[in-house]
């Protein structure tokens, strides 16, 4: 009797909290999930949830206590002259920034990478400084540079060449030049950085053997540097397309607000902001945002397909 009681009083050791935790911590199947959990969590909370909610909102008319589904009306409303004006500005802006901000930083990076270049580190840091400046400050300075009074920097220059002062930020073409110049000033350094990183990855032996074979500088650039930089170029191209299509702050600062004469500086995101927040039409704002997402995706997929990135990955 006694023995049986004692036996019964000694149950198999149940895992305590501590051992469960240890078990958990050493579980190899679980570990990867634990490691990616922070990302998954932030992704779900700050990306997926807002995105799904944006998709739902784009089919709604949203007012306090009066949220109603209105079908496709927000999307039909996208046939809106000002939306197209914004789209056209972003497309032109993207095109010209790509035209300038890929070849120029690439060449500058090659120069900065060259052993023959004097004071390389000085130039590297000075070219990068604009990227560290806040757009707010830079935008304000550019607005003053492109001021319409005869005393502004650009007008003084123009007058030197015998022309009349120009109202830079009131005309479509000249204000566009100001935007492109701001972008060039600001992003050249960043793109140089990308290309410099790419250049460091090119093995020195390639240059040496090319030199032995008698290749000149231009041939080395076109046959070695350019092809070897392709992955970096594609990366820069992809983010630049996104950056160009989503450009907002530059225009906002240069025109000191989300308002430009005759909408010459209206951007897609600026229009989204105007509609959703300035005019309280969240549903239409959501539709504009999704349209922007779709356009950027299409442009980038086409681009990635054309330069072979997507095809190559399929083969693997």
């Amino acid at each position: 009797m006694n023995a049986t009681v004692q036996h019964a009083a000694k149950p198999p050791r149940k895992p305590t909290n501590e051992t469960t935790l240890r078990h958990f911590g050493y579980n190899q199947k679980l570990a990867p999930y634990v490691f990616v959990a922070p990302f998954i969590f932030t992704f779900l909370l700050f990306f997926l949830y807002p995105m799904i909610s944006t998709v739902i909102m784009s089919f709604q008319n949203i007012l306090p206590n009066q949220v109603e589904f209105i079908g496709l009306r927000n999307y039909i409303n996208l046939n809106d002259p000002i939306f197209f004006k914004a789209l056209s500005l972003n497309l032109r802006y993207t095109f010209f920034t790509l035209l300038i901000l890929i070849p120029m930083p690439m060449l500058l990076a090659v120069l900065l990478d060259s052993k023959l270049m004097r004071a390389r580190n000085f130039y590297r840091s000075t070219l990068f400084i604009p990227a560290l400046t806040s757009v707010v400050v830079a935008g304000t300075i550019f607005r003053l540079i492109f001021g319409e009074m005869p005393g502004s920097l650009m007008n003084q220059l123009v007058v030197l060449f015998g022309a009349k002062p120009i109202k830079w930020l009131k005309l479509a073409d000249t204000s566009f030049i100001a935007l492109i110049m701001l972008a060039t000033w600001r992003w050249t350094g960043v793109n140089i950085l990308y290309f410099l990183a790419g250049l460091q990855n090119i093995p020195r032996e390639l240059y040496e053997s090319a030199e032995i074979d008698g290749a000149n500088a231009w041939q080395r650039f076109t046959r070695i540097v350019f092809p070897m930089l392709k992955p970096v170029t594609i990366y820069v191209l992809t983010i630049s397309i996104y950056g160009g299509m989503a450009m907002f702050t530059e225009s906002y600062m240069i025109f000191s607000g989300n308002r430009s004469p005759n909408n010459i500086g209206i951007t897609i995101v600026g229009y989204l902001y105007r509609k959703a927040f300035e005019e309280n039409n969240m549903g239409y704002g959501s539709a504009i945002g999704l349209a922007l997402l779709l356009i950027v995706m299409i442009v980038n997929v086409i681009q990635l397909y054309l330069n072979g990135t997507i095809r190559r990955e399929k083969k693997v």
């Binding site: 007012l63 306090p64 009066q66 319409e148 109202k167 308002r259 004469p261 300035e278 309280n280 239409y284």
Partner: protein, 427 residues
């Protein structure tokens, strides 16, 4: 933010408890969270809370102010009211944004209880603009009466008496004389704001919106007003304001140096003169606007900020009472003038001798500014406010004024095109 607010709240409560023991007053202080975009408004409400607490020791209030940038504050408020949480108790909403907060089921508290008894004493249009379905949701800081500021030196040099300018014809004629005698234009026009143009519509009985709130851009009244200024620009008697508007640094410099003989702006623009155009001290006359035909209303209330109580306020009765006291009472309106230099909405106050006490505004202007206001006190119609106002104002600010005065395009074409765009633009 919320945590900070609650810490502040606890601190204030503890402080009040301590002071409560000291003064042996048993009344509990109600703290109101107050959002604004203007530092001066904080000063005003803190002062008013002080006066209120002296007069109502049994219902003391405290104001816990937060000043945000203009856009930030309105965006945060919009989202807080939409989502039903996080809104302040009392809030300043600028007129350009107010329509956004009247859309849907209004999340603001009707103020009829305090507004209705005072309707005869105030400029009624300044509460009408914040009303919907017979409920008043906001009370304005000022009338914002449109007036014309003349540079006396320039007019004297041209031999013109400002008081003799009654109609726009007189004004245009005076402009020609001024240009001929002094070489400067009569006035400047804004291309990025409607403030110096709006009175052209209201004096003809029109507005940016139809009485039922639809965009009302393609009208003969609009065409007539635009044409008047466009002709002056062609003649050289008017120029586009340097920098595009009357709030641009370029313009302040230009005007300060005697660049133009006059400017038509609301009463609240007095503060810009005192702060940004110091050299014009003693030279500026505040006068009623000219009209097309004698008898038309010579002014209109423009701009403004309505203070409202949100439905997330826990002690709405007290908040409404306090707001009514601050914005409608004699004391409150006097403080509005003293602190901010606005034309208070309480008409009866305009003849009060207290207003003549020297302050920076009285010292600056060549005549007593309220003389102009008293002349036009029954000629201040309300502008129409509806959910179409934000987009219509955007059209005015971004396109119409620019195309008419800067690009000098044909006015009927502009109006036809812009009203077509407005129709296609969703709210």
């Amino acid at each position: 933010m919320k945590k900070l607010a609650s810490i502040l709240l606890v601190l204030t409560m503890m402080l009040t408890m301590v002071s409560g023991i000291a003064t042996a007053s048993a009344a509990e202080v109600t703290t109101f969270e107050f959002w604004t975009f203007n530092e001066l408004h904080v000063e005003f409400y803190l002062k008013m809370a002080e006066i209120w607490n002296e007069q109502n020791p049994d219902r003391p209030v405290a104001i816990n102010p937060t000043v945000f940038p203009y856009d930030d504050m309105h965006n945060k408020l919009l989202i807080a009211l939409q989502s039903g949480t996080g809104a302040p108790d009392i809030v300043d909403i600028e007129i350009g944004k107010y329509a956004n907060f009247l859309m849907g089921e209004t999340q603001l508290v009707p103020l009829n209880r305090v507004v209705e008894p005072e309707l005869d004493n105030i400029v009624k249009s300044r509460v009408d603009i914040y009303a919907k379905d017979g409920n008043y949701y906001g009370i304005c800081f000022h009338v914002g009466a449109s007036v014309t500021y003349y540079n006396k030196d320039i007019l004297d040099a041209a031999g013109i008496d400002a008081a003799s300018i009654v109609t726009w014809d007189d004004y245009a004629q005076a402009g020609r004389t001024v240009l001929e005698k002094t070489g400067v234009p009569m006035c400047t026009m804004e291309t990025n704001d409607p403030w110096s143009f709006w009175q052209m519509l209201t004096e003809q009985g029109s507005d940016l919106l139809t009485p039922d709130g639809q965009p009302n851009v393609n009208t003969p009244e609009m065409a007539k007003g635009l044409k008047f200024y466009q002709d002056m620009i062609t003649e050289g008697t008017a120029v586009v304001a340097p920098g595009g508007g009357h709030h641009a640094e370029e313009y302040y410099g230009f005007m300060n140096a005697g660049g133009a003989a006059s400017v038509t702006m609301p009463f609240w623009y007095m503060g810009r003169f005192t702060d940004y155009m110091p050299d014009l001290k003693g030279k500026i006359l505040v006068m009623p606007n000219p009209v097309f035909e004698v008898g038309q209303p010579r002014s209109v209330g423009l701009g403004g900020t309505g203070t409202s109580v949100t439905n997330q306020c826990k002690n709405q009765d007290l908040a409404v009472d306090f707001l009514g006291f601050a914005k409608l009472s004699e004391e409150g309106n006097l403080k509005i003038w003293e602190i901010m230099g606005f034309d208070p909405i309480r008409k009866a106050l305009w003849t009060n001798e207290e207003l003549k006490k020297p302050n920076k505004f009285i010292d600056y202007f060549a005549n007593f500014p309220f003389d102009a206001l008293i002349q036009v006190q029954d000629e201040i119609p309300a502008i129409v406010v509806s959910e179409n106002l934000p987009k219509t104002m955007t059209a005015i600010r971004s396109s119409i004024m620019y195309r008419a005065f800067e690009a000098m395009e044909d006015i009927p074409t502009i109006l036809a095109e812009e009203s077509a765009i407005l129709e296609k633009t969703p709210n």
